[in-house]
Amino acid sequence: MPILHIEFNNVEVKGPDGKPVRVPAKQVLQAHGPRLQVSVSVMPALTKEVTQQGGTVPSPMSGFALIDTGASTTCIDTEIAEKIGAPVIDKVTMSSASHPDTEANIYPVRFDILGIGLGRDVPRCMGAALQCQGLIMLIGRDALVDCSLFYNGLTGSFTFSI
């Protein structure tokens, strides 16, 4: 089973005097959470049907995904879902602090972690506005059922495998 280990070493920010300051790995992990670089695409089962009939499917798109153990369902940025050509297959109603009873689309998608060949289909991925936070996806517990995650706050690292 391939294992991904990410450690947030050598992260620098500008200090008050403009000089670079190294930030401890544990502080970076606390601020950003367990993020992965992923590629998102339409679920391959659908892509296969479309291409077999001579149709085309837009290219996958890449960006950051946050592993969110508090989320029961994986979310994809709505704009990204539309750009990759994912069809809307259902709708759900969400209540949020700022927008009560907002409707959200459901898309059949797949994510692949860049560079290591790990990925998973997400047949019911909810659309949400995530790009404003620098994310294209929240990986929720529906995807994590087949994964292991070890979060090490002490060393500012996490280990993930599917």
């Binding site: 992260v11 920010v13 930030v23 502080q27 970076v28 606390q30 601020a31 950003h32 339409v42 679920m43 089962a45 659908l46 892509t47 049907e49 479309v50 009939q53 149709g55 499917v57 969110d68 508090g70 989320a71 029961s72 369902t73 979310c75 709505t78 539309e82 050509g85 994912a86 069809p87 809307v88 297959i89 259902d90 709708k91 759900v92 969400m94 209540s95 949020s96 602090a97 700022s98 409707e103 689309n105 059949p108 047949p123 019911r124 909810m126 659309g127 949400a128 995530l130 404003c132 936070q133 994310l135 929240l138 929720g140």
Partner: protein
């Protein structure tokens, strides 16, 4: 954001009682005002939907009374939008 499937969801809700008797627990594939089929798995319904409609919208939903609850505190509480005082 474009929201679709209003027609399909209305049709699904209108027929849910009857379908619960006939196809309980199956996955329904609905397009417009037509039940295209019922399937054992979501993957089967999605594949058939893509075969017929390519990447157009179509409804795929389990035939059950209560839909699973979705919990995403980061979105519902607006945590992702919090403005932290100390940025890294």
């Amino acid at each position: 954001m474009i929201l679709m499937l209003d027609q399909e969801i209305k049709y699904f809700n209108e027929h849910l009682d009857a379908w619960l008797k006939e196809f309980p627990g199956k996955i329904a594939l609905v397009k417009g005002q037509e039940l295209i089929g019922t399937y054992d798995t979501e993957a089967e319904a999605l594949t058939e939907g893509a075969r017929r409609y390519k990447l157009e919208s179509f409804l795929v939903r389990r035939i059950e009374r209560n839909r699973p609850e979705i919990q995403i505190p980061a979105l519902t509480l607006g945590i992702l939008n919090a403005d932290f005082a100390h940025r890294v």
